[in-house]
């Protein structure tokens, strides 16, 4: 029996839902909830405008088909499933591909300055894993522009009143209340294990406080900082996902970590050079002579090895990221043919990414954002000199397990409370924090889409869930929340006090560097079971040493040290999930590659890795489980729903191989066309 009012609790309080994280997925969820008249508390680690979505560069996929190529959502679905090496459940992917054109039009209406064709229509460019022009873009800062558009719309709801069933404004209550510079600590679970709120910490005053919520949606992003340096923002530690995993949420496909082929090496960060550089004609090459010392511009065409075009003539420089990264890695590490540096006398781990054959004005209108980054941080002019790049950890395909319910067409059933639900009743997850859309390898420009689509699905889903619950979180006894708050307070004080003044105390930042260096070296492009065994042993050692950490800061104000210790403890937990999952999976699929098991093995491994937390230092991998959603018991197995696109071996050597529906619709771009400047 559902509660009487969805606006007010029995006790008369405004019933809110909590969204944690203000990137694209979080903000879209907020907007959809507000449109469904559900007031929201939005909690974010940083002012939402500074969320990691801002870093996305190249664009957002949608089969709008304005180039006369015959593109369609069906082809988008097929290419995404194929690019993901058939590990994604296909109904959510179908829903996403079908919704994509509408999403891009919605963003267009919000004022996103997408690049235009002469006729004033949206322009589209090519991206990896497809031969179609499917990617809408705003220069090379598309993520920034999309984030700003959603941020602006959410700001409108910050000044909108909450209205009761009779259309009367409730004094002092706004549709969105923002809590920025707050760190998510834990969910609050009631006696039945239902999520009824969360505890968070104000990072200025360090106050720890509980938030009541009829549901909690985690939109807390990826976990790239586990790998030390990556293309991720420093806030992407995965701490929230790890925390709820430790509270019982299932973590899926953790071992699938995307390594992006082209980033600028750096001491603090590996800065991304978007796939759009190749989408607009950029070519990856190394000199054929490994000891060639000449300036790259003086090396003639025939003395260059365009590695991707040679190895994968069908898709060339636009093969999916897992494939491009492995090819570059092989060239640099195994063949020692990275760009030769006369100063150091060795072949560096770098290849050329070359745009110098393109017209400067063309590059400025389409790629200025990324070329600016190269110029600023690498110190050379990429309009006239080939860039030097190397692969870097970029994205986590894995994340919190979330459910979906399909409709008769095999797409997502709109408004089902199961969509985006984790196995903890009342806890939802969207965006990079969950695992749903990308399988074993994400295609470029599908991440912005999956974030926004997830928000569009989760909003109505959470609103349905809220309607189904018999008792609002706002009617539960205060003690439920106070207990959780107290537990978090004690944990924070433990971090502040433990090992102070002790000899042999550890510095958390140094421990993190050890973890990151190892994860980057041993758990990325190529994986080996003996090495992974060593990684797990080292994680156990770090688990012990992290207990000896002394918080480097005793202040009660803006204590980033204490925050970092907490994140580090949580990173270690997820690091184990990733490494152990990689060790278990004896096959090669998408981003997960084991030279000892070079083939995909569908018979044994076309299944989702489902990790459950046992205790610190122990992960239990399960094949099935049951959970309850909106009062219904749901049985979940690790089988992949491949009901829409038949699994087959990936062959990017052949043009058009990624989609049966596309066969014959598009010509493979001739090699000569790729070299032609605009």
């Amino acid at each position: 029996m559902a509660a009487k009012s969805t606006i007010r609790s029995e006790g008369g309080k405004v019933r809110r839902v909590i969204v944690v994280g203000g990137g694209l997925a979080g903000l879209m969820t907020v907007i959809k909830l507000c449109e469904a008249k559900v007031p929201v508390d939005l909690i974010s680690l940083v002012p939402v405008k500074r969320s990691h979505s801002v870093c996305a560069q190249g664009g957002i996929n949608a089969s709008v088909n304005t180039k006369g190529e015959g593109d369609s959502p069906q082809i988008h679905l097929e290419e995404t499933a194929y690019g993901g090496d058939f590990l994604a459940n296909q109904p959510p992917v179908k829903g996403m591909a079908e919704a994509a054109p509408g999403i891009v039009f919605m963003l267009d209406r919000m004022g996103v300055p997408f690049n235009r064709t002469p006729e004033g229509l949206l322009d589209f460019r090519r991206f990896g894993g497809t031969l179609f022009h499917r990617t809408a873009f705003a220069g090379a800062t598309t993520g920034q522009q999309l984030l700003y558009a959603l941020d602006e719309q959410v700001r409108r709801y910050e000044i909108a009143d909450v209205v009761d069933e009779h259309g009367v404004s409730i004094p002092g209550e706004k549709m969105v209340r923002k809590f920025e510079f707050w760190d998510f600590l834990q969910t609050v679970l009631d006696d039945n294990g239902t999520c009824v709120g969360c505890v968070a910490q104000d990072l200025k005053t360090m106050q720890i406080k509980y938030f009541q919520g009829d549901a909690v949606v985690l939109a807390t992003g990826g976990c790239g900082i586990i790998f030390g340096r990556s293309t991720m923002s420093v806030i992407c530690t995965g701490t929230a996902a790890s925390s709820v995993y430790q509270q019982g949420a299932v973590y899926a496909n953790g071992e699938f970590i995307q390594v992006h082929p082209t980033a600028i090496p750096g001491a603090d960060k590996l800065r991304l050079i978007s796939e759009s550089a190749r989408g607009e004609g950029g070519r990856v090459w190394v000199p054929k002579d490994a000891k060639d010392q000449r300036n790259p511009k003086e090396i003639p065409e025939k003395e260059r090895d365009y590695i991707l075009e040679r190895m994968y003539p069908g898709y060339g420089n636009l093969v999916p990221r897992d494939i491009a990264s492995r090819a570059i890695f092989k060239t640099c590490f195994h063949e020692k043919r990275g760009v030769f540096n006369p100063k150091t006398g060795r072949n560096e781990n770098e290849v050329y990414l070359d745009l110098t054959h393109k017209d400067e004005k063309f590059l400025r209108s389409k790629l200025a954002g990324i070329l600016e980054i190269y110029e600023k941080f690498a110190g050379t002019d990429p309009y006239h000199n080939p860039m030097k790049v190397f692969p870097a950890v970029h994205y986590s395909m894995g994340g919190l397990w979330v459910d979906f319910e399909k409709d008769a067409r095999g797409s997502l059933k709109t408004g089902s409370p199961r969509n985006h639900a984790t196995n903890i009743p009342g806890l939802y997850a969207v965006g990079e924090a969950e695992y749903q859309y990308h399988g074993a390898n994400r295609l470029g420009a599908n991440s912005l889409l999956s974030c926004i689509y997830a928000g569009m699905v989760a909003g109505p889903s959470v609103a349905s869930y809220q309607k189904s619950i018999a008792k609002s979180a706002f009617d539960l006894p205060k003690s439920t929340f106070e207990k959780a708050e107290k537990r978090c307070q004690e944990d924070y004080e433990r971090i502040l006090k433990q090992n102070q003044g002790a000899s042999g105390a550890e510095n958390p930042y140094k421990l993190h560097q050890e973890l990151g260096d190892m994860m980057l070296r041993d758990v990325t492009i190529e994986r080996d079971n003996a090495t992974l065994e060593g990684v797990l042993t080292k994680i156990s050692e770090l688990d012990e040493r992290v207990k000896k950490v002394a918080c480097p800061d005793g202040s009660q104000r803006a204590n980033q040290g204490a925050q970092f210790v907490r994140h580090l403890e949580n990173m270690l937990v997820l690091a184990r999930v990733i490494a152990q999952g990689a060790k278990n999976r004896d096959e090669s699929r998408g981003a997960h590659y084991k030279p000892a098991f070079p083939k995909r093995n569908d018979a044994d491994w076309m299944r989702t890795t489902l990790a459950k937390h046992e205790q610190k230092g122990a992960v239990k991998y399960v094949r099935e489980f049951d959970y309850t959603c909106a009062g219904q018991s749901v049985h979940v197995t690790d089988a992949v729903d491949a009901s829409l696109v038949a699994p087959r071996e990936r062959k990017y050597e052949q043009a058009g191989a990624a989609s049966a529906a596309a066969t014959g619709k598009i010509q493979q771009p001739a090699a000569s066309e790729q070299q032609k400047s605009v």
């Binding site: 959809k32 039009f105 267009d108 409108r156 200025k204 560096e348 480097p552 803006a558």
Partner: protein
């Protein structure tokens, strides 16, 4: 797979002088502290501060709490890490040590001065976000349901609008603005630029007057003192002076002829 060489030092040291304060209500804790940290290739101020976190010890050998600062993307697109470095307001991530201290000069790092201090290099820029509400910096869409594509736009118009849309609310322009401080209501160059941006968009222009009216009173466009400092420090090279001039012209027109339309 790492390029492990980039984490190795070369014996060279980077010398930082950091202005610190524990809390806004504890002015007596205001102090300068100096740190020397190992140089890393392509080092920026963020990686220098990260080195301080690993060994939080001043040049006098005193163990201190690590410096705190705000940062996120580290590629000058999120706007978080704005601070005053050698007297100039900028992002710490794109402040490269090789460029600002090629010969090991002392690098002076301070928090911005126009916002309430939180601690050390962190300030609270909430006022900027509030002013974005004040100037109605958004397009009034009817909803997120499917309504087809937005209005058509020429590539030229897009190329004019896009650079204005790259404002990351970093605070450089208002830090450099002589008119912006805690005793004025001035919304600042960035907010006026947003008024221009949204008034340029075909749907945004439907509410052009309402947006203009938000900057026609106190704290509005006439508070600009035309020092043009803003455009000098904008890391995204947004033509802020042009934006202010455009909004000023539009506001004047509205002021002179607006009554005719009533």
């Amino acid at each position: 797979m790492a390029n492990s060489d980039t984490t190795k030092g070369t014996g060279r040291l980077v010398h930082l002088r950091v202005k610190r304060q524990d809390s806004p209500d504890l002015p007596e804790t205001r102090r300068w502290e100096e740190f020397k940290v190992p140089y890393l290739p392509q080092m920026n101020i963020i990686s220098a501060l990260q080195q301080v976190q690993k060994e939080p010890r001043t040049v006098d050998g005193k163990d201190v709490a690590p410096v705190v600062w705000e940062s996120s993307c580290l590629e000058e697109v999120c706007g978080a890490c704005t601070m005053v470095i050698n007297g100039r307001v900028r992002q710490a991530c794109s402040a490269l040590v090789d460029q600002i201290a090629p010969n090991g000069e002392v690098i002076q790092v301070e928090p911005m001065t126009k916002f309430p201090l939180v601690r050390d290099l962190i300030v609270d820029r909430e006022r900027m976000f509030q002013d974005m509400k004040k100037v109605k910096a958004w397009i009034d869409i009817d909803g997120t349901h499917e309504l087809g594509p937005g209005p058509r736009e020429s590539p030229e118009a897009q190329q004019e609008r896009y650079p204005l849309s790259r404002c990351m609310t970093c605070g450089c322009c208002v830090e450099a603005c002589p008119q912006y401080n805690d005793s004025t209501q001035f919304v600042g160059p960035f907010a006026l630029n947003l008024v221009r941006l949204f008034n340029m968009h075909p749907s945004g222009a439907l509410h052009k007057n309402a947006r203009l009216e938000t900057v026609m009173g106190e704290g509005g466009v006439q508070d600009c003192g035309k020092s043009q400092n803003c455009v000098e420090v904008c890391p995204k090279e947004i033509p802020l002076v042009d934006s202010i001039a455009q909004v000023s012209r539009d506001a004047t027109k509205r002021l002179l002829f607006g009554w005719l339309l009533k």
